[in-house]
């Protein structure tokens, strides 16, 4: 079965839904395809690359303005999207000439871009176009360019997760080890499974740089193509989103002996533990602890302001994959909300293991829910808010359930200490938005009350709080900037003289 309730006294050997199953034909699934997972999730966050889809132009839909993995090169990978624009005649006569012409045209149009990824789609896969052969021809003709081919058509796998898998393994086999990145520190990591959603990577890089760590590559948010070819030179793989990127970590371990350290970038305590672990690994605990102390002192009073006002609010935690477990316990611990349901669109049983282990008893866990199931659950459980993607999110709005975008965020970044406060701030704004006073009135049945004045957020959120909390001088609302990312991205840090990683 694909849905279970974590009952009293149950553990993972009795409460675990099936996962990574084929989608039932005809159902309104919320998943993406394997091409989407390879290109739109993993591949395209690489910033200094022409990303070209070999297929119909419709396959490139999820690009400009629908993704929020920003980059520090003016968002080239978001601004420009490329497709070979296959038509019916190409299905009949083949599209390799069309592809080759497109590759050259794209390089000519952007002469400063010397790297390209090409993504197979259902159409080009079904007619058997040999993309690798065309890419090899072009690289021979244009020796200053490098091209990566990802053969992950939409039908290859139950969901976008199939595409994550394919591109992980393909990058490891075809590209890792083909470039020698310059090493500038004794402490070198690959930061893996991080996609720089609204600047998450900038925040975490800032912490790592303050510790004297060289982030050799980020797989793949704001990541550089050539840096990612040099992943084999790192000492440690620091893994965030295990669902989308553990494959390459595991293979880097097997092939190059680089160990994998799983971390949580979300939540004060998990993040502090994560920084501390990375610090311990390299013998640089002190700078890690300094960051933890400084950031906690700065932001904890603001997190606690929101916690007081969010206690007991019911949450359906319905993300794609990893946030199911990144957030399941820590939003309960640090924001006071109750997770009443967890689900995953494209996760595997491993994701559910982590999520169910971390959430409270009584939570309903569902794998790949259909739209009607989502509706039924919301009507039955009556959550105060759901964290999910934009497709089910818009459905939630229609039945007047607040929603936050768990994939792309509302006002991110949500990673890091400040980011976690921004997440709490977004939850607060969603739950206590004054718009609900009007939106929740069914004007087909009820009169709009004209004898009541406008009620503000604070009047709503503080109505049942004690005077001690309301007038606390320690607690305060978020005081950061509207756009906090530049301060993290542009911060300079003193060079750090350290010890070699080898120990006694």
């Amino acid at each position: 079965m694909h849905a279970v309730i974590k009952g009293p006294g149950e553990d993972l050997t009795s409460a675990l839904p099936l996962g990574y199953q084929n989608t039932i034909p005809g159902s309104i699934t919320e998943r993406g395809c394997a091409y989407c997972g390879a290109k739109h999730v993993i591949g395209t966050p690489m910033k200094d690359v022409i990303h070209l889809s070999h297929g119909p132009i419709g396959c490139t839909y999820d690009t400009w303005q629908t993704k929020r993995y920003i980059s520090d090169n003016d968002n080239f990978q978001l601004k420009y999207t490329f497709a070979s624009d296959m038509q019916e005649k190409h299905v009949v006569f083949g599209a390799t000439k069309l592809l080759k012409d497109n590759i050259k045209e794209a390089f000519r149009a952007f002469p400063h871009m010397k790297r390209m990824t090409i993504y197979q789609t259902c159409a080009s896969a079904l007619i058997g176009d040999d993309i690798n052969a065309i890419a090899a021809e072009v690289m021979e003709e244009m020796p200053d360019v490098d091209i990566f081919v990802c053969n992950s058509p939409g039908f290859k796998g139950p969901s976008q997760s199939g595409g994550h898998h394919t591109i992980n393994i393909a990058w490891l086999k075809d590209k890792v080890g083909t470039f020698e990145t310059e090493i500038t520190s004794d402490y070198v990591i690959n930061y893996v499974g991080e996609y720089n959603i609204q600047g998450d990577q900038d925040v975490m890089h800032n912490y790592f740089r303050r510790m004297g760590i060289q982030v050799l590559s980020t797989f793949t948010g704001n990541g550089s193509y050539d840096d990612l070819r040099g992943m084999h030179r790192a000492h440690l793989n620091v893994l965030e989103c295990a669902r989308s990127a553990e494959y390459i970590c595991n293979e880097l371990g097997v092939k190059y002996g680089i160990p994998r350290l799983d971390i949580d970038g979300f939540g004060f305590e998990p993040l502090s533990n994560s920084l501390r672990k990375v610090g311990l690994f390299f013998g640089i605990e002190d700078p890690a602890q300094a960051i933890i102390d400084e950031e906690t002192a700065r932001w904890k009073p603001e997190l606690d302001w929101y916690k007081e006002r969010l206690k007991g609010k019911k949450v359906c935690l319905w993300p794609g994959g990893s946030k199911l477990w990144h957030w399941a316990h820590v939003i309960h611990e640090e924001m006071g909300v109750d997770v009443i349901s967890v689900y995953t669109k494209f996760g595997h049983q491993q994701d559910m293991e982590k999520g169910i282990a971390r959430c409270e008893e009584g939570a309903l866990a569902i794998d790949d829910p259909k739209e009607l199931e989502g509706l039924e659950i919301m009507l039955k459980l009556k959550p105060d808010i759901i964290f999910t993607g934009k497709r089910p999110g818009e459905v939630a709005k229609k039945i007047r359930v607040s929603y936050l975008n768990a994939h792309a965020y509302h006002n991110g970044p949500w990673k890091g200490y400040e980011g976690w406060v921004r997440f709490a701030h977004d939850i607060y704004n969603a739950i206590y938005s004054p718009i609900h006073q009007l939106a929740f009135v069914d004007i087909s049945k009820e009169e709009i009350p004209t004898d009541k004045g406008f009620v503000t957020q604070r009047m709503l959120s503080d109505a049942t709080l004690s005077e001690d909390v309301v007038s606390s001088t320690r607690l305060r609302r978020y005081t950061g900037k509207y756009d906090c990312v530049p301060d993290y991205a542009n911060a300079t840090h003193p060079s750090f003289e350290g010890l070699p990683v080898a120990v006694e």
Partner: protein
């Protein structure tokens, strides 16, 4: 003993990630690496950390041992033999939850 193991198990399952690697052989190795080193730290015994892999286990073990002693002060009062017994019981339980009794059908996949 069973109640104490349950407390430690609950901490691991809620807060740690190392026990959930993707395949049976990974989980076996992770559980062995981290929990053995945690036991050694709690018993004040030498801990190998010469290789990058060992160092990675050691990192998780240090944090786990600290969390245990901070939360459960009774651990500090146990004799070495009792700690070893406790940690063996904990390892058996984590092994059961993560691969021996697991419902996860992907654990036996031969490839990553």
């Amino acid at each position: 003993m069973k109640d104490r193991i349950a407390l430690l198990e609950d901490y691991i399952m809620r807060n740690c990630l190392w026990q959930f690697h993707s395949r049976t052989w990974d989980r076996q190795r992770q559980n062995e690496g981290v929990l053995t080193k945690t036991m050694q730290i709690l018993c004040a015994e030498p801990v190998a950390r010469e290789t990058l892999e060992d160092r990675c286990y050691w990192v998780d073990a240090v944090c786990l041992a600290e969390a245990f002693t901070n939360r459960y002060s009774w651990i500090c009062e146990l004799e070495k033999a009792e700690i070893k017994l406790l940690m063996q019981g904990l390892k058996d339980r984590i092994d059961f939850l993560t691969f021996k009794g697991s419902l996860n059908k992907e654990l036996t996949d031969q490839h990553y």
